[in-house]
């Protein structure tokens, strides 16, 4: 590109500027369509219930707070805060479980040379492609027999047992990229694997750990099928199920508080996303590729 600019500097420059303008116009147009639903929900949450479907305006003519203040009443005697506390507990446990178990497993795959490693790695990757639904029923029967229905246990125990291959894979890919000299030097210094894992590999894997933690949080926060199957007391419901209660009990007429709660439920995810988007996107890209 640099040779082109020197050769025919003027016209190339001009062409680049119009090209750049067209590019931005194009990108912004696509972006407007893609982000429309997100902006819509923000605007709708400040509209009176009757206007939410009927009014075409993106922003409310006269913003009202009724939808949000209506949330304070909760639903069927259960406060909205309770749904959020339950979801938060689920998400925090999921993050702790995923980070701990996946990093240990990934360390074994990436840094320890043991018999059967290739076979186990293939098995682990294989679970990425396995439809989860084949495990759904026997797992339900298992947890039911153990008496864990209506608790968080069935939802989080898998996270502590590294069952989500995506996270293990992500961390393995990252740990393999760490300079081999570091853990070899540690070994020469007499460090065992536990020490090497804890003081060298784990701190250096921070980007992969953060990515996994954020994804684990968001997945748990958004999870719908798990809570739908395992939780049945409304006071134990997560935000997803609480939202469904709003819809089922208030009927279609009260769109307002439903949309307001939808927006509130999205806030943690969007906040995390804004803070860590670079990590998430790079993590997403490297887990798919890289040899």
């Amino acid at each position: 590109m640099s040779t082109a600019t020197t050769r025919v500097a003027r016209s190339a420059n001009e062409r680049r500027r119009t090209g750049s303008l067209a590019w931005h116009v194009g990108a912004l147009l696509v972006l407007a369509v893609v982000l429309y639903p997100v902006v819509w929900v923000v605007g709708a949450s400040f509209k009176p219930s009757k206007d939410i479907i009927a009014s075409l305006d993106l922003l409310p003519a006269k913003p009202v707070w009724a939808n949000f203040s209506g949330l304070a009443d909760g639903i069927s005697g259960i406060s909205v805060a309770s749904f959020f506390t339950n979801s938060l507990m689920y998400a925090v446990l999921a993050v702790a479980g995923v980070v701990l178990s996946s990093s240990l497993t990934a360390y074994a795959f990436a840094k320890i040379r043991f018999a059967g490693r290739n076979l186990l790695f293939t098995l682990m990757i294989g679970t990425l492609l396995l439809p989860y639904h084949v495990l759904l029923i026997p797992q339900y029967v298992l947890f039911r027999n153990l008496g864990y229905i209506d608790t968080l246990v069935p939802l989080v125990v898998g996270k502590f047992l590294a069952t989500e291959a995506f996270f293990v894979f992500l961390m393995v890919q990252f740990m393999r990229g760490l300079p081999r000299e570091l853990d070899e030097a540690a070994k020469l210094d007499g460090c065992g694997h536990l020490r090497t894992y804890w003081s060298i590999v784990l701190p250096l894997s921070r980007p992969a750990i953060i990515t996994s933690a954020i994804f684990a949080f968001i997945n748990a926060w958004n999870d719908f099928m798990g809570p739908l199957i395992y939780l049945n007391t409304p006071s134990k419901y997560t935000v997803s199920l609480g939202l469904m209660m709003f819809r089922d009990q208030e009927g279609i007429s009260d769109y307002g508080s439903m949309i307001a709660m939808s927006l509130v439920a999205l806030v943690p995810v969007i906040a995390f996303f804004m803070a860590f988007q670079r990590h998430l996107i790079d993590g997403m890209a490297t887990s798919g590729l890289k040899g």
Binding site: F109, R113, L129, P131, Y140, M225, L280, M284
Partner: protein, 318 residues
């Protein structure tokens, strides 16, 4: 650039003599390896392998959770294949997979090509396009979708401008599935990011050489870009179609908890859920689950087989 299938554990390079060599050292390494991955091994046995065997057994039984499973042989499968609602769920799912996956990948590739150009604010655009992928799975967005596609709402009114009136997609059995397709396509961020990573790896010299030879943009795309990113294209096709087979939440939330007017969004997993958890027919649901596993395995196998014909790995290109 290698794909999941071909990401083997790195072959042993020549390394300095290990400090603890010999039999005991190896034994200790093995022990350490298994200890470190003991969470995964326990999880794999208890929550993956064990349940798989159990569900295979349930698939041949009549089981309602309250009385012990009773062996019925192939009954579940024969009933299933003759069940009109099961047939409907297969039809709905296939339609969804076949329409949603290519549209989503096309949009992902298109935006990735746009973002692959070095422009100001590129990272910001990339992040914004990725956002729907993170929130799209939530019940919140399901409600937003319901509102946007309901009678007399935004999409409906936009259509009326062109003289088309369907009374909202959500209540219309002919259209409601496409509201789900739209929701899936909207979440094109993940494959887009993977396409972008692939596009970054295409050597610029190839384009410069092709330009010298007088190849136009379309030709460059067809002869350079597409072959060079075929491994990531393969990866995306594989993952996205497998995910599409398993869609559940959006069908349950967006249409309604019975999965659509007139079973119009009765995707496979929604019927499985109804059979297993509403009607407590665990045997039948397990038979359905195994049929899904076989279908997904077949699709995976066909894709892996076909990749020889259209996926170019770097080794081959050299």
């Amino acid at each position: 650039m290698t794909l999941v299938k071909e990401a083997p554990v790195r072959p042993a390079k020549k390394r300095p003599a290990a400090p603890v060599a010999g039999r005991r050292g190896r034994l200790r390494e093995n022990l350490a390896g298994y200890l470190f991955m003991s969470p995964w091994i326990a999880g794999f046995l208890l929550l993956t392998a064990g349940p798989m065997i159990a569900s295979l057994y349930y698939a041949f039984t009549s089981y309602n959770l309250f009385t012990p499973p009773k062996w019925v042989g192939l009954d579940n499968f024969t009933t299933m294949f003759q069940d009109p609602r099961w047939q409907k769920s297969v039809e709905v799912t296939l339609k969804y997979v076949v329409v949603a996956t290519p549209l989503k990948l096309l949009l992902a590739l298109g935006v990735a090509l746009l973002l692959a150009q070095k422009r100001r604010g590129q990272a910001l655009y990339r992040a914004a396009f990725y956002m729907p992928s993170l929130i799209g799975a939530s019940v919140s967005v399901g409600f937003v979708w319901r509102a946007l596609f309901s009678d007399d709402a935004v999409v409906d009114r936009a259509q009326k401008i062109f003289g088309v009136d369907v009374g909202g997609w959500i209540g219309n059995p002919d259209y409601v599935l496409y509201a789900l397709v739209a929701l899936s396509v909207w979440q094109f961020g993940a494959p887009m990011v993977i396409f972008l990573a692939g596009l970054k790896q295409v050597p610029q010299e190839l384009y410069e050489a092709a330009e010298m030879d007088g190849a136009g943009p379309l030709r460059r795309f067809w002869n350079i870009t597409l072959p060079m990113i075929s491994p990531v294209l393969f990866f995306n096709v594989l993952l996205e179609s497998i995910h599409a087979f398993q869609v559940f939440g959006s069908a349950y939330v967006v249409s309604d908890t019975r999965c659509g007017p007139a079973d119009a969004t009765l995707v496979y997993t929604c019927y499985l859920y109804q059979k297993g958890f509403k009607e407590a027919q665990m045997g039948f649901a397990s038979a359905m689950a195994w049929t899904l596993v076989v279908a997904v395995a077949l699709v995976t196998a066909v894709l892996f087989w076909s990749q020889k014909k259209w996926v170019h790995y770097e080794e081959a290109a050299k």
